[in-house]
Symmetry: C2
Subunit: 325 residues, 2 copies
């Protein structure tokens, strides 16, 4: 019975980001049978986000030709403070009105016919996906660097995720500059204060309001985006926008410094670059991050392999589906 | 036969530092039966250092009432690039004329009647000693911070040392300030550039030569020291020496920043402060390092336990003896 069911099962995965909700439905070999993407609600509260997530997984199921009630389970990769056992998410700063603790697993499960929903940390599941299925396959040790709205980190040692006392991997809050720029987290000099897309937008806005020229906000309006997305940054860079170039250069410098610090501490075999900005900017910026690491690497005669995440935009959702494998 | 021999064995341990050679002879319960300490030769070359190490382990054996030939083995904790299998040490920057590769294990072994000599990294063996016998007993995960001539780090995860691809733990070369002060390693902004005793002495000398008042170099001469030892720094601080206070304050700030970064990445249970300066400055500075970590800790509601190394000055040598246990 168990084997029969396992051979038949299809599973759902939801990657809940500050900008978008990406869903997939996969088979036993983690092949994507259907997918859907919705913008994350910017207004309302956790219940509205949960409803949008249920809709999006429903669409992925439809694309895969199954009903949501046929899913063997749905995994969710979420930001914020996850209590996997309780099925709750708290303090999700990048989501609307989500300071408190919300029973996300139950809310989604009720909306999709009682299917089991399991929660995990967004960065952790994305890292696991790359290690099990993507650019990290076979790596003894790996540092995942997810360059997006924030900068998340996943640590894999001896092939297994290292969680420490529960919250390891906060690479975005490694300090790259004592007394440096204020981070969205409220501290000073964190890598994320220079390299997180949220912080980069705040810097761009401040400098633009102080009189510096940039096409960033014009592009944002033109493409009808509520914020400076990875695509907007990419377009501005391609057009040679000076402010955008300077801010991205600072981000690369901070990433190189912070990742090199992490490598000096852990001496991992592989560094994996993912996240919205990391994937969008691609190979060229992978190379630039490695170049920015070099002056700070203690063992610069054998730098780690620096690779782009192989599962692309779907990595988080595929990793979430692994939670119910 | 094996158990009989084991029950009888006494072992030697040598901690080779840039300033001193500390030796111990221990029994099966790692109780110290005898010890000796010699200054590390500042002239000559590796062969002279090996001879001084042999002499010092001979003295420890004598103090323990055994001949060196009766030792079941001798472990050595050394700086530089260790090849444990080959028994060689290379690139030991803080030791005289030791840029090349020297067969240290054989050289010592020949001088003490053919007893087996095993080499290990100085910081690694000191960390292992604290975990097995000292302040780290029972810790699930631990970061050892050895604040001395340089700043060394030992990483213990799930109770086992993490070596990465062979050189993990270079916490002293985590960057605390992008574009910051030049480190003795040649890079910029490393924690060690502010907190290593070698770098601190260089800073003090430069500022003194530029006209700033300090009693540091007077104390050094008065106590007949070839360099600013931990004891000299401690005396200057106690006397309220302004330059010494400022330089140590910078060191504490850099340690707090770098250690917090490491904790944000690894979320360890325990941080252990050792090394010559760490042990000399003691509880007060342990507290100050924790205070300097707090503004940078991502999970500042549950900071790691910060403890002083419990084995004191003998920790490195006792840890070295564990190599032949």
């Amino acid at each position: 019975m168990h084997h029969y069911a396992a051979a038949m099962s299809v599973r759902g995965g939801i990657d809940l980001g500050g900008t978008k909700i990406q869903t997939v439905v996969v088979d036993d070999d983690n092949r994507v049978l259907g997918e859907a993407r919705h913008p994350t609600p910017t207004e309302g509260g956790p219940a509205d986000v949960a409803a949008a997530m249920a809709t999006a997984i429903g669409e992925a199921a439809g694309a895969a030709g199954v009903a949501t009630s046929e899913l063997a389970g749905v995994g969710v990769g979420s930001p914020g403070a996850i209590d996997a056992a309780a099925g709750t998410v708290g303090q999700a700063r990048n989501l609307p009105d989500w300071e408190g603790v919300f029973p996300l697993a139950d809310a989604i499960s009720r909306a999709i016919g009682g299917v089991t929903v399991k929660l995990g940390n967004d960065v952790s599941v994305a890292t696991d996906a790359e290690v099990q299925l993507g650019a990290g396959v076979g790596a003894r040790s790996l540092l995942g660097v997810f360059w997006g709205t924030g900068v998340g980190g996943g640590v894999i040692l001896d092939g297994v995720r290292w969680d420490g006392e529960g919250a390891a991997g906060e690479i975005g809050h490694m300090v790259v500059k004592q007394g440096g720029r204020k981070c969205p987290c409220g501290r000073h000099g964190c890598m994320e204060a220079y390299a997180g897309r949220g912080a980069m937008e705040a810097t761009a806005r401040k400098r633009h309001e102080a009189g510096e020229k940039t096409d960033l906000f014009h592009l944002m309006k033109k493409h009808d985006r509520p914020r400076l997305t990875s695509g907007i940054w990419s377009r501005a860079l391609a057009a040679g926008d000076r402010l955008a170039t300077e801010i991205v250069d600072e981000a690369v410098e901070a990433l190189g410094t912070g990742v090199a610090s992490a490598v000096n501490l852990l001496d991992v075999e592989v560094v994996l670059i993912g996240g919205g900005l990391g994937l969008r900017l691609g190979e060229e910026y992978r190379d630039r991050i490695l170049a920015a690491m070099m002056p700070h690497l203690f063992n610069d005669d054998r730098p780690p392999a620096v690779r782009l995440a192989a599962l692309g935009d779907l990595g988080g959702a595929v990793g979430a589906a692994l939670l119910v494998a």
